[in-house]
């Protein structure tokens, strides 16, 4: 009998404005198991990137160009972005 193994997958997360500048990169990557919630993703980000947590900038999460809620389910097939409050105009 096969034992089902959890395959770690890399989720890419786009960064903008002060978050991009703080991380000195327009993208970060985290390991995830298949599907996770937005809240779980935030927890992994804070555990992995301590300097992002230290920044303490309120940020929003967009999934496939739409504002996401903590309960939304995401996978590596989604386009994820983190950004601070907008200031265009």
């Amino acid at each position: 009998m096969y034992k089902e193994e959890l395959v770690k997958q890399l989720l890419s997360i786009k960064l903008f404005a002060s978050l991009r500048q703080a991380m000195n990169s327009d993208e970060i990557k985290i390991d995830i198991d298949n599907e996770i919630t937005v809240l779980q993703m935030k927890q992994i980000i804070f555990e992995t990137f301590l300097n992002l947590k230290k920044l303490n900038i309120p940020f929003f999460v967009a999934v496939n160009h739409k504002h996401a809620m903590d309960s939304d389910i995401i996978s590596i097939h989604d386009e994820i972005a983190l950004f601070p409050h907008v200031s265009g105009g």
Binding site: K14, F83, H85, G88, G89
Partner: protein, 137 residues
């Protein structure tokens, strides 16, 4: 029509675009780079855009305007990149049969862009650079 551009905004082209034989009114709003903030002098601004999402949000704003007001033509343009004091960073133009709809739709357009479009600006001041991040209402 909505556009994100790295090139200077020509307001005459916007007015030409919205001018229409059936329109009695055209309203144009321009936002320009100001030479100061609350703390002092500003020499330039840098705009960063999440292009794909901004295009979708701007299209949603245009669709919402078309459901709320009877307008004839609408155009909004936002700059990206580095802009000097006095340069136009954003422009919205609307035409309608009468002025009321054009004024209201234009105001809604610029207010919505400022509130929703994933665009950020960084100020260059005498004391360094600072990202402007409005506090959520």
């Amino acid at each position: 029509m909505i556009t994100i551009t790295e090139n200077p905004i020509d307001v005459n082209k916007l007015l030409d675009y919205v001018s229409d034989p059936s329109s009695g009114a055209s309203v144009l709003f321009t936002g320009t780079v100001r030479d100061h903030n609350q703390e002092g002098k500003v020499s330039k601004l840098h705009y960063e855009v999440y292009q794909e999402m901004a295009e979708k949000i701007l299209q949603e704003i245009e669709n919402e305007i078309n459901t709320k007001w009877k307008i004839n033509k609408f155009i909004a343009i936002h700059r990206t990149g580095t802009l000097k004091v006095g340069e136009i960073s954003v422009a919205v133009a609307v035409s309608s049969d009468h002025r009321k709809e054009a004024f209201e739709a234009c105001k809604f357009g610029i207010d919505s862009i400022k509130e929703k479009a994933p665009i950020w600006k960084k100020e260059f001041t005498e004391s360094g650079t600072k990202w402007v991040e409005a506090i959520a209402k």
